[in-house]
């Protein structure tokens, strides 16, 4: 907001509440990208977890990711499915070798908000959603994706991995990042959005449970994006804990009824001035 990253924007907002006497806990949240990396560095030092951005969109994204992690191999869906011979016992995907290379580091695939529940195959999978394609082509692509999921599941000897290809293809998040999520899950990892991953690192739920008020920020608050994925995530977590949420934004286009219907107690528009100064009066009104 206002050109500041999550940490710096949050610090300026938090200063207003601190000025009026509140105890403030700051948790930077962001979508995957440079802002996420900065927020993670602000939150915690280096750790052992491997975070992989799942920013692909097309159906070759999964094979490309596995090829990258393997240091080579078929990097397109057609090649991977065409050359995989799991049924004959020849494992060309070598998931186990990749897992060994990761040295049991926890693995998290970072996906765009909105993709954390997408599945790899089926009517709501990567192929099913391609309504721009004729049904014949959608079905053919879906068959390839299912075959790909079968190869991924069959090539792993990890008992904590997917039971079979059908299970993997139907797991929420397997379709994230153009299907790269399925590779992460086959490797025993999880698929999370940027805010989810940072929220986990920061134990956001515990922080919210200890708070009287949750304050979040965005550039614009309107009926199209409702402040964006970070605001959406914060509202969801605060609602789960029964805590009120207020939004600090540069511009607000939503009336009080719309705010309340979307889980926001109040929105404070601050324009382009100093963030802390602009929040002082608003913070005072919420301090008791």
């Amino acid at each position: 907001m206002a050109g500041f990253d999550a940490w710096r924007a949050g610090a300026r907002v938090g200063r207003a509440w601190r000025t009026v006497g509140a105890d403030v806990a700051l948790v930077p949240l962001a979508e995957m990208g440079p802002g996420w990396q900065q927020a993670k560095e602000n939150l915690a030092g280096p750790d052992n977890t491997l975070f992989i951005p799942l920013d692909g969109r097309d159906h070759d994204s999964g094979p490309m990711l596995l090829s990258f992690l393997s240091g080579g191999g078929p990097s397109t869906l057609v090649d991977a499915v065409g050359t995989g011979r799991a049924a004959s016992g020849v494992d060309l995907l070598d998931i186990d070798r990749v897992r060994d290379h990761l040295a049991e580091r926890p693995l998290i695939g970072l996906c765009r908000s909105g993709e954390q529940d997408t599945v790899l195959a089926g009517a709501q999978g990567l192929a099913g959603r391609r309504v721009d394609l004729p049904l014949r082509e959608r079905l053919a692509l879906d068959r390839m994706l299912r075959a790909w999921a079968d190869l991924l599941a069959a090539s792993s000897s990890d008992p904590s991995g997917p039971a079979d290809g059908a299970t993997l293809a139907a797991t929420p998040g397997s379709g994230a990042g153009g299907g790269a999520g399925a590779v992460v899950q086959a490797l025993g990892g999880r698929v999370l959005t940027g805010p989810q991953a940072l929220g986990e690192i920061a134990d956001l739920d515990r922080t919210i449970a200890a708070a009287d008020l949750v304050v979040t920020c965005c550039e614009d608050f309107d009926v199209d994006a409702w402040g964006g994925p970070v605001v959406e995530y914060v509202v969801q977590r605060a609602a789960a804990a029964g805590r009120p949420v207020v939004v600090i934004t540069a511009t607000n286009h939503v009336n009080l009824t719309g705010q309340r219907r979307n889980g926001v107690e109040a929105v404070h528009a601050i324009g382009t001035g100093d963030i802390t100064d602009a929040c002082l009066t608003f913070a005072q009104s919420w301090f008791w």
């Binding site: 009517a123 099913g128 068959r143």
Partner: protein, 116 residues
């Protein structure tokens, strides 16, 4: 509604009225190479939507039920969402056209074309 005895390969039941209407449309077109295909696609205000159309294509994995004068076809991707669904046809003051009653739908939108 009749035809409740026979197990449907597609999982979908076409009522007598719907079958008669579809067969009549095919006769009017002079086409005996078309089947009635019902498909589920992402979209609509509730998440998923139906597409009901005549189709001359036979696709791998298609499920087919034969009625008097018309075949009903469901593709492999749509079948899990349509088990137990009933396609009916009405032509009254209150309601006109083909309708789809789907027990798998948790909710539907007011237009009736989209479900979740």
């Amino acid at each position: 509604m009749t035809d409740t005895v026979t197990e449907k390969i597609t999982g979908v039941t076409l009522t007598d009225a719907a079958a008669e209407k579809a067969a009549g449309l095919l006769r009017a077109e002079g086409r005996d190479d078309l089947a009635l295909r019902i498909e589920v696609q992402p979209g609509g205000c509730a998440g998923l939507r139906y597409r009901l159309a005549f189709d001359d294509e036979q696709l791998e994995g298609d499920l087919v039920d034969h009625y008097d004068g018309v075949d009903l076809v469901v593709d492999r991707m749509s079948a899990p969402y349509l088990g137990g669904a009933v396609i009916d046809y009405a032509d009254t003051i209150e309601r006109q056209g083909f309708t789809i009653d789907n027990p798998n739908a948790v909710s539907t939108c007011a237009c009736g074309d989209s479900f979740h």
